[in-house]
Structures are given as C-alpha cells and as structure tokens.
C-alpha cells in the first residue's frame, strides 16, 4: 500500500489541530464571552480598563483562540421582527413639498394663465388648476422646468417628475424611475435609523437586514420582548413645527383645506388646527438632548442645521405674538406663543415630560424620524429560559447520540471502529471550528443538524470499511485491500454527499432564521465528514498499518 505523502499528512494533522483549538472556546462559552465583551469594551474606551473589566479579561487567556459561534435567537432568547416599510408614504410628502415650488414657478405667468390654485387630488399626485386652459403649454413648460434628472443607476436619462395636462389641470407626479430611486432611499434611511435606535440601547449583535424590495428583518438577542423592540423602532418620531390656525374642543371640527386637526398630547379633548405644510421639520435637526426648562421640568433641547435655523428664525421674526405647534407623530406636544424672534436655531420643547420620556424623545429625535410608517408582518419573542432549556436538551441529545454511535461503531468494526470514532470527534470539532470562524449562527435545528451529522458522518467510513471487507474476502493482501477500499468507495462517497449537499444549499437559499442555521451546520457537516473519512481515518489507518505491519486485517 502506498502511503500518503508526508506533506499531506502534516497538512491533515494541522487542519485537525486547528479544528480542535478553534472549537475549544465554545466549550467555555460563558467565560470566553465575558472575556470578549471586556476586550471590546476596553478597546472602545481606548485601552482604559476598569478593575471589573480586567477581571473579566482574565477569565480566558488572551493567547488562546477566542472566536465563538453566535447563538441564534431560539437559543439565546430575544426578539425577531419582520417589518414592511410603506415606501409609498414618501411619495405624498415629496409631492406635497412641490406645491410651493410649482406655485412660485407659475407666478411670473399670472397674466397668461390667470389664477392658480391647488385642486383636491389623491395622495402622491399634485393637481393645479389654472384659470386659462388655453395657456396650458406655457404652464406645462414652466412646471416641467422644475424637473431634475433622476440620480440612480437604473433611472439614467429620466426626470424625477412627470408633468401632464388634464383639462384645466396641471398634474404632477413622481416618475416611475424616481419612485424606484425614492423607495431605495427610503429603505436605506429606514435601515440606518433602525440601526441607530437599536444601537442606542447597546444590545449585542443585532441583525438588521433588508429583505426584498420593502422589508426589513430585525433580530435583537437579549431584548425582553418583540413589543419592547417595536416601541423602540416602531415610533416614527416625526417632528414638525407648524403654524397654528386655531384651537378647538370639537373633535369633528372641519380643519379646512390643507389644514390638519390634531389632538393635544396633554390636554384631553383639546384640538389644534394647524397648517399641513410645516415650517421646519425634524429632519433639519442636528442635535437633541434631554434638558430642563426654567421651571426645572424635564424638556428636550434641540439645535437646527443652517437651513432649519434660517427658516425658523425668519418665521419667528415674522410671526411674533402668534402660536406655533410642536407636532410629534400627529400629536401636538405643545403650542407656545412666539414672544420674540428666535435666532440661532436652538430651542427647547416642554410638555409635561417625565425624565425618561424626555430622554427617549431626545434619542428618537437624534436618531431621526423614520421616513415612512412600518407594518409588522412577523413578530417572535423567545424567552432566555426556553433557549437555555433547548441548549441543555441539545447537549444531552448530542452526547447520548455520540456515545451510542461510538459504541455501535466499535462493536461493528473493532479497531477500525475506534479509528472512525476518533475521526468523528475531529469532525465535530471541525464543525464548531468552522462555525466559530465564519461567525455562523447555531440554532436549535442547527443542533439537530449536528446530531444528524454524528449519525451520517460515519457513513463514509462505513462505505470504506465495508468495501475493505469485500476486498479482503477476495483474498487480497491487507495493504492492497485497504487501498482499494478507499479507492473504490470514493465515487459512492462523493456522489452520495454531493446530492445531500445540494439539499443543504437549497435549504440555505430558501430557508430563513433557524432553518438556515440547520442548512449551515448540515452543509459544513457534509464537508467535514467527507474530509475526515477520506483523509483523517485514512491517515490513521496508514499510520497504524505502517507501525504494526499486520499479516492479516480484520475489519
């Protein structure tokens, strides 16, 4: 029998050693995790460590590998949300913001087109009626001039708005290409804002991913419930400053065209009629901090950017003595009177807040408002106890399975069975090592995948051993029989495992969450089990054979 080249054996040995050393940290999960957290905290504090952190750091020697596989939500506990972003919300805001521009563009043409007024129209469409329809071409041209090219890869060559004539109306709406581009921006913004808000809470390894055209998957380990997560990210925190037209206690009052009737947050039964188009919006905030007002009540101090500060300054200068409303998520937080011109773009929001509320509001304002509302399609909360139970059960199942398979293999193949069991141990180590290194996630079905691999991993060995038996039966000498056994079993091993691997790939592509975790462990398990069966057991068998030189072999 021709032995494997030395460099190959060394390589195989190195892979095994790497596997074992990279898998070890997972055996001491809690300690390594404490160590890693402390290391990250010290890193974040520029190397300054508290005594507790130093103690935590000492839990695990830093020269040992410290990568861990992450645990899925079903094992660690936490919350999972799948949200759909109402991307078309943004069209309305965009189109509404165009009205002043369109009006200004048509103003110089007054003598041609006559009076201009906004006609009622569905959301996302602007209808402007002109008095003299015969001057329509001039009006269209003027409005058309407002269009700008779409900034996106796919929308090259098209404009952001479509302007058409309908009777005496100029109809303005977003073009198809601009809608796509807007959708994309909305999704990016939403992702960014959700990320900011979740990060503010400082939880471990949240997953925030875009899925498909208009969905976002949010998974946060360690958080108490999906409801908690929802209240953290689901609040739109849309802040606007609007002109107040009037105040009423009639919930059914007609606010009039382009005005809104909004309830007061703190006064039961009081409503404000405000102008729909805001003076300034929260998007123009640069900072918001919890603070206290002159009566020492909790408040939020805010700062506008340059554009916002100018608009706010101009507005307050021109409207001293009138009321303006601070509107948060369709509720009037407060409606103070403008006592004087407010330059500089800073101010405070008061409104009977508790300290917690003012802190949360400041966080929300700082992170920015979500550009569009979200609908939650899927919510899951898994308690940490359930996860711990699952881990414990999975451990027991894996150990019992491993022990039973080992006993059975040794009873069936004797010494060769022992070789297979050693290879099985290496195999399990390699699975954990691979999961830790690529940062894979272990889920409950993933544990099942490992247990299944324990059962199936010996298959390649069984194929080889059975084949060696057959070759021995045809009276070949032991060395030749072993060699032929490996050679002839190879095609069956490869074909059988590639077909299984195909299903693992399909599972990975189509599955989500826990199922994907299963696909990963199954896929990794197939690769490692083929490696251990073809190379590791073979190397062991060859070493044993070279050492003992047996005249006969019993498999």
């Amino acid at each position: 029998m021709s032995p494997t080249a030395l460099w190959k054996r060394v390589l195989i040995l190195l892979v095994c050693l790497w596997g074992i050393s990279a898998a070890v940290p997972n055996l001491f999960y809690g300690r390594v995790e404490t160590h890693n957290d402390a290391a990250a905290a010290i890193e974040a504090a520029n190397g300054v460590a508290t005594p507790e952190q130093t103690a935590a750091l000492a839990e695990w020697p830093s020269w040992l590998p410290s990568s861990l596989m992450s645990l899925g939500l079903d094992l660690r506990g936490g919350a999972h949300l799948l949200a759909r972003v109402e991307v078309s919300d943004v069209y309305k805001a965009r189109i509404d913001a165009m009205w002043p521009e369109v009006r200004d563009a048509l103003r110089p043409l007054r003598d041609q087109i006559g009076a201009v007024r906004r006609a009622p129209s569905p959301d996302g469409i602007l209808r402007v009626t002109i008095q003299n329809p015969e001057a329509m071409p001039a009006a269209l041209e003027a409005v058309q001039a407002l269009a700008t090219p779409v900034v996106s890869l796919t929308g090259v060559g098209s404009n952001d708005i479509e302007v058409t004539a309908d009777g005496a109306d100029v109809v303005v709406q977003l073009s198809e290409a601009e809608q796509r581009a807007t959708d994309d921006r909305t999704m990016q913004q939403s992702l960014e804002i959700i990320r900011n808000r979740v990060d503010e809470v400082g939880t471990r390894e949240p997953t925030i991913q875009r899925q498909g055209d208009d969905r976002i998957l949010i998974q946060v380990p360690g958080i108490g419930s999906a409801a908690e997560l929802k209240s953290l990210i689901g609040t739109t925190a849309k802040l606007t400053f609007n002109r107040v037209i009037g105040r009423t206690d009639n919930a059914g009052a007609a606010p009039g065209a382009r005005n809104l009737l909004l309830p007061a947050r703190d006064e039961q039964g009081v409503y404000y009629i405000v102008e729909e188009t805001p003076v300034v919006t929260g998007e123009e905030l640069t900072d918001a901090q919890p603070a206290f007002d002159q009566n020492n009540d909790p408040a939020v101090r805010f700062t506008f950017n340059g554009g916002g500060a100018r608009k706010f300054g101009d507005y307050t200068a021109a409207n001293v003595g009138t009321l303006f409303a601070i509107v948060l998520d369709e509720q009037v937080i407060s409606a103070p009177k403008i006592n004087e011109h407010i330059p500089g773009g800073t101010g405070i929001i008061t409104g009977n807040f508790s300290v917690e509320e003012s802190t949360e509001l400041a966080v929300l304002l700082r992170a920015g408002a979500l550009p569009a509302a979200m609908e939650f399609l899927e919510e899951r909360t898994i308690g940490p106890e359930l996860g711990a139970d699952s881990i414990a059960a999975g451990k027991v199942a894996a150990l019992v399975g491993m022990a039973a398979v080992s006993v059975y293999m040794i009873a069936s193949y004797g010494l060769f069975g022992v070789f297979a069991v050693v290879a099985l141990g290496v195999n399990i180590a390699l699975i954990f090592a691979a999961l830790s290194t690529v940062g894979g996630t272990l889920t409950l079905p993933g544990i099942a995948g490992i247990v299944l691999t324990i059962g199936m991993a010996v298959d390649a060995n069984v194929l080889v051993f059975e084949r060696i038996r057959e070759e021995l039966r045809s009276n070949r000498n032991p060395g030749r029989a072993i060699e032929l056994g490996y050679e002839r079993a190879l095609s069956a091993i490869i074909d059988a495992n590639i077909t299984t691997f195909i299903t693992a790939v399909v599972l990975f592509l189509v599955g989500a969450g826990p199922v994907r975790g299963f696909a990963i462990t199954l896929g990794i398990g197939i690769i490692t089990s083929v490696f251990t069966a073809i190379y590791v057991t073979r190397a062991i068998v060859e070493m044993w054979y070279g050492w003992r030189r047996p005249k006969t072999v019993i498999v």
């Binding site: 409801a227 898994i382 019992v400 399975g401 030749r480 599955g511 299963f518």
Partner: protein, 323 residues
C-alpha cells in the same frame, strides 16, 4: 475471527424482486393513500403557514386548560386552541402549555394591546405563569412561506435529478426521484393522519429526508453501475439483486447509526424540536426502505440501454488486474 456485531450476514443473496407486487406495489399504494389522506384531512399547519399567534406558557402550577380558555373567551380573538405540552426534560413542577390564536380577517399581526390583554387574562388564571415565547406571523408572510416551501422541495428534487442524470443515466434519475416522492409523501401523509403540527422546521426535515434518501439510493446505484460493467451478460434483474445484496450491510449500518443519533434527539432533544426529529427519524426509515425496494424497481421497469457499455468498461477492467 474477532467478534463483530452484524446486522446482515457477510454474504446475502436475497431476491429483492421476489415479492415485488407487495414491496414496490405496496409502496406505490401507500404513496397514493398518503396523498389522499393529505387532501382529505389536510395538514395541521403551524403559524408559519397559517398565520396567527402562539404563546408558550410555563408555570409551577398545573395547566388548567378550561380556565385558560374561559379567560380568553370574552376577547375579540380568532379561534383559540390550548394544549398542554409534555416532555421528559421538564422538571416535576414545570407545566408548559401552548396557546394558539388564529388570525382575525384582514389583520397582519395581533396588536401589542391585544397581546397585553391576553397575557394579563392568563396571569389572572395563574399568577405564576411565565410567557416563554410569543410568536406571531401575519397572513401575508405565511402565504409566501408556503410558496417558498413548495419551491424549495421542487428545486431540491430537480437539482438532485439533474445531478444523477449527469453522473448516471436518466433512468436512474427518474428512479431516484420516484423514491424521493415516495418518502416525502408518505411522511406528509403521516403528518396528516395524526394531525401533527406542520411548520417550517418540518419542511426543513423533509428536505433533509430528501438528502438522506438520495444518498442511500446513490450508493446502490453506484454499485449497480460498477457491476453492470463487471457482469456484462448477467440479466439486469440479477445484477440489481447482486448490487443491493452487496451494499446491504452498509445500507443497514448507516441507517442504524443515523437512527441511533436521531433517536437520542427524539428522546432527549426537547419538545420544541420533537416534530422535526420525528419527521427525520421516520423519513430515514422510509429512505432506507425505498433505496432497497423502490428506486431500482423503476429502473428495471424502464430498462437500461447496456449496448454501449463494453467500450467504456474495458479500461476499468484492465485496471482491476493487479497482484
């Protein structure tokens, strides 16, 4: 000769076609029965596929299903079903129940307010109750998940079929896939018959069965291909019998090790994963059976074209002459 534990004698010579009408025919009958069961009884879909909410409760007090149902009856909820969960891993004082709430029409998810009301109502019944998990899936997503599951099964079967076709011949691909359909449909039939909960993890289990069963079948096919070159004049039926006999001890050995590991999962793995473990356990048994009694029978029915084999085989035969 040292003692060796064996599932099959060293050399077997069973005629696996002898009771073909019973083994293969019976299998086909069972598959049809399973499909009928599936259509007639339907599957007990989990919230992944049907939408709705499940709450897993844990308490030190015994579960009082009637009182819990009573507490929730006044609310505006969809159909509520409450079942107690048993598992050998539970401590003696641990009492777990599963509450399932069907979605109301036109509602994506249960609102947080409703959820809080439900939790409060259950806490009135049993103050020691803890909510271990709360999961809610909207009908929009669940519809897509069904579609994705079907897609996954079809894509995996098609990919396997193409691979076998490339590596072997089309008759093998067809035989392999019929065996897969047999395994998958009978498993689904069992889930329909006993109204076991059918959710996303069960689909993952079915896909795993797919992988395992084809693995088993391919090993037999691989040997068949080899023997067809070795024994060119032997009738196809006999070559098949020989191949299955030769691989029998491996087939049984692998099935048993896999079943041992899965058995451990089934018993000790906890109730959350039990359906999944059961599906794979059952599927592995079916997969082993089908690789012995189903896959090759179809290949025999269709017949193989053995005409062009000798040329390809000659080089192989030469290689087998060794000292």
């Amino acid at each position: 000769m040292a003692f060796r534990f064996r599932l099959a004698p060293e050399k077997t010579n069973f005629d696996f076609f002898r009771h073909q009408w019973l083994t293969f025919g019976g299998s086909m009958m069972l598959t049809v029965v399973a499909i009928i069961l599936w259509i007639a009884m339907g599957l007990n879909f989990g919230i992944d596929f049907r939408g709705g909410t499940t709450i897993r409760t844990d308490s030190t007090n015994p579960v009082n299903v009637a009182a819990m149902r009573e507490a929730l009856s006044g609310m505006e909820l969809g159909d509520v079903s409450i079942t107690e969960v048993f598992d050998i891993n539970f401590a003696e004082t641990q009492h777990v129940a599963q509450v399932r709430i069907a979605p109301l029409d036109g509602q994506e998810a249960v609102t947080p307010e409703t959820m809080a009301q439900v939790e409060a109502a259950l806490q009135v019944v049993d103050p020691a109750i803890v909510f271990e998990s709360v999961e809610s899936v909207g009908p929009k997503v669940s519809g897509e998940l069904i579609w994705k599951a079907v897609l996954a099964m079809t894509a995996a079967s098609a990919a396997i079929m193409v691979y076998i076709w490339l590596r072997f011949e089309w008759q093998y691909a067809l035989g392999g896939v019929v065996a897969l359909i047999h395994d998958i449909f009978i498993t689904i039939g069992v889930f329909a018959l006993f109204q076991l909960k059918f959710d996303l993890t069960i689909v993952a289990a079915l896909l795993t069965i797919l992988g395992y069963s084809i693995n088993d079948t391919v090993v037999v096919f691989d040997r068949l291909r080899e023997n067809l070159q070795k024994y060119k004049t032997m009738p196809l039926r006999e070559v098949m019998n020989l191949s299955v006999n030769e691989t029998l001890s491996r087939t049984l050995m692998t099935s048993v090790t896999t079943l041992i590991a899965l058995g451990a999962m089934l018993i000790f793995g906890g109730d959350v994963i039990r359906g999944f473990a059961f599906a794979i356990f059952f599927g592995v048994i079916l997969g082993t059976y089908s690789s012995i009694f189903v896959a090759k029978n179809l290949v025999l029915f269709i017949g193989l074209d053995r005409g062009d084999k000798p040329k390809k085989a000659s080089s192989n035969e030469f290689a087998e002459i060794d000292a």
